[in-house]
Amino acid sequence: MKTIAAVYDSHEKAIAALLELKKSGFPTTQLSLLGKAELKGKHIYVKANDTPEKVEMSIGIIAGTILGILTGVGIFAVPGVGILFGAGAILGAFAGLQGGIIAGGIAVILSTNVGMDEADAIRYEQHLNEGKFIIFAQGDEPQLKLAQQILHAHGLAIEISPT
């Protein structure tokens, strides 16, 4: 199984892209979403990258929207990165976190557990640190080609990785 990634500068755009993939029949069990969250006071927020005000959104709203598409959302404290949230198939990759991989940060998880190229993984970690959102689609070559076409046509991504 291969993976492609698409980078978005806001939660809404990423969700819209997920919905577009779902509508086109791409299996939602092969989709994942990753973003960064922050703990302020006692509340967890997600920071969007695309508004000048960088309006904070409560994790409750985001998780609620995601759960309309994918069946699970995870929120993880990663040393040196902060709080990440992930949804979908990628949650399985995070299961290893408890075992100690957490210390290696997000790039290690993406390369070791999701099977991404290390250079790509480091770049995606940077995107996450900047408050961007990444969609991962996994599947065979024809599926990923289709996913790329859908996401290109949808047109909201900052970057879509080649297969």
């Binding site: 069990t29 703990l39 006071g41 006692k42 509340h43 967890i44 927020y45 409560s58 994790i59 409750g60 709203i61 998780a63 609620g64 929207t65 759960l67 069946t71 699970g72 959302v73 995870g74 929120i75 993880f76 404290a77 990663v78 709080i83 979908g88 198939a89 949650l91 399985g92 990759a93 995070f94 299961a95 976190l97 408890q98 075992g99 957490i102």
Partner: protein, 161 residues
Amino acid sequence: MIVGVYASHDKAIVALRKLQESGYMPGQLSILAKAELVNNHIHVRPNDSLEKAEVSIGVVAGAILGVLPGLGIITIPGLGLLLGAGAWIGAFGGAYLGFLTGGIVAILTTAMGIDETNGKKYEKHLNEGKFLVFVQGNEDQIKLAHDVLHTLNLHLDLDVH
């Protein structure tokens, strides 16, 4: 394994903290509860307040992340939303891959090794808005954890399996 049943997330988190102070590792501790989607927002509803005031998931998640490194919220057909943290996340990974259709009892029996009768009892607790705290370890650790939680005395129910 020990399963403690608590009426609110506050009490469950106090119990987790107490266990952490007593030397238990995050990989040995888990918390499980039901969450609700109200107007696009996820809440948990504690069982112990008269008003049953809703608490935003952001607050609960923040408190949990102070003790455990991760938490998950998953959709379970027929049950609604389930919030879990700690060693449970591993079970969630599996849940996503197939246990999900079996519901919470299947997860409890398959992933946590709880028998079906108790699995059903805990499912009922979850449906009533209670919070479950799990401790895993060797015999000595389980015995000590039982003493710690028993002394803390915030639980509704405390089982050793």
